[in-house]
Amino acid sequence: MKRTLRFVAAVLAVGSVVFWAAAGTNRGWTKTSVPRKIVDQVTGIEGVTYEKHFVPGVDFLGAALVGAGILAGISTLLRTKSNNPQSEN
C-alpha cells in the first residue's frame, strides 16, 4: 500500500509536469477555450472567435503537485508490512 501510494504520487507529479510542459508551459490560469483572431478582408476588422481547447495553467500544475504531495505524505504515515512476523512465544 505504501509503495503503491508513493508510485501513484510520483506518476501524478511527473505526469502533470510533462502534460503542462507539452501543452505549452502556460504560466497563466488554465484555459478551457483559446481565442483565435480572424480578420475581415473587406473592412479590416479584427475579430476573435473561441475554440474549445484545454490548456493547463499554473493552477492545474499546482493542484496536481499538491495532490502528489498529499499522497506521498499519507504514504509516510502508513506502517511497513513486516515479512517476518515475530512469534508470540
Binding site: D40, V42, I45, V55
Partner: protein, 202 residues
C-alpha cells in the same frame, strides 16, 4: 429654359437623395463584430471579447457630424479563455448578466469632427450604460464609410458599409462592478475597444 429648369431640378433632387442619411445595422452576419476588454491588475491580466453586438447608426456621408446611433453588446456574449472565470464575471457579484443583459452606448453629440476622404474622426459624447448605471462619456471614434462595399462582404447584397472603431476606458467602481474588491487581481480600470461594421442595404 424650361428644359434647363427640369434638368436642374432633377440633378438637385438626385443630389439630395444621394446625401440622405443612411441607417446602418450592426448585427453582423459574419460574427466578426466585437467589443474587446482588458483589465491589467498587478497580479492578473484579463483579456476578453464580446461578439453579441447589435444596434443602428444613422450616418450622412455629407454631414458626418450629424451621426447618431446606439450600439448594444449582449452581456452574456462576453468571453474569457477560462470558463470558471467567465462564470464569475457574469455572476451577480460582478456583471450580473441575468439582471442586466445589455451594455450600451448611445451617442448624443459629435465634436471635433475631422473628415479626410471616407474617414471621419470625432469625439463622441454619449450615454454609456453598464449594469444598469448610465454615465455620460466622451469617446474618440473613427468612422470609415465604404460606399457600395456591402456586396464584397455579404455576397448577393448591395449597399454600403460603415466601420466604427473606438477605444476608451471606464472605472468599474463607477458602474457598481464589485466596487473596491479584489483590485490586485481585477483592475479598477477597464479598457474597452470596439471594432464593428454596419450595413445599409439598398
Amino acid at each position: 429654359m424650361k428644359t434647363k429648369l427640369i434638368i436642374l431640378t432633377f440633378v438637385a433632387s438626385a443630389g439630395i437623395a444621394l446625401a440622405a442619411p443612411q441607417t446602418f445595422d450592426f448585427k453582423d452576419p459574419k460574427g466578426i463584430n466585437n467589443a474587446g476588454f482588458k483589465l491589467d491588475a498587478p497580479l492578473e491580466s484579463i483579456n476578453g471579447s464580446a461578439s453579441g453586438v447589435s444596434g443602428t447608426v444613422t450616418f450622412d456621408s455629407e454631414n458626418p457630424g450629424a451621426t447618431t446611433g446606439k450600439i448594444v453588446v449582449a452581456t452574456a456574449s462576453l468571453m474569457v479563455p477560462n470558463s470558471m472565470q467567465r462564470g464569475h464575471m457574469l455572476s451577480a457579484t460582478w456583471l450580473d448578466a441575468a439582471k442586466f443583459p445589455e451594455i450600451s452606448f448611445e451617442s448624443k453629440e459629435f465634436k471635433n469632427v475631422k473628415t479626410d476622404g471616407d474617414n471621419t474622426m470625432a469625439d463622441v459624447t454619449g450615454t454609456f450604460t453598464l449594469k444598469g448605471i448610465s454615465k455620460v462619456l466622451t469617446v474618440p471614434v473613427k468612422l470609415t464609410y465604404m460606399k457600395d462595399k456591402l456586396g464584397d462582404r455579404v455576397p448577393g447584397q448591395k449597399g454600403d458599409l460603415l466601420v466604427v472603431r473606438a477605444g476608451f476606458s471606464i472605472k468599474r467602481d463607477d458602474f457598481n462592478v464589485n466596487p473596491g474588491q479584489s483590485e490586485d487581481k481585477v483592475s479598477e480600470t477597464i479598457e474597452l475597444t470596439l471594432s464593428i461594421a454596419g450595413a445599409a442595404a439598398k
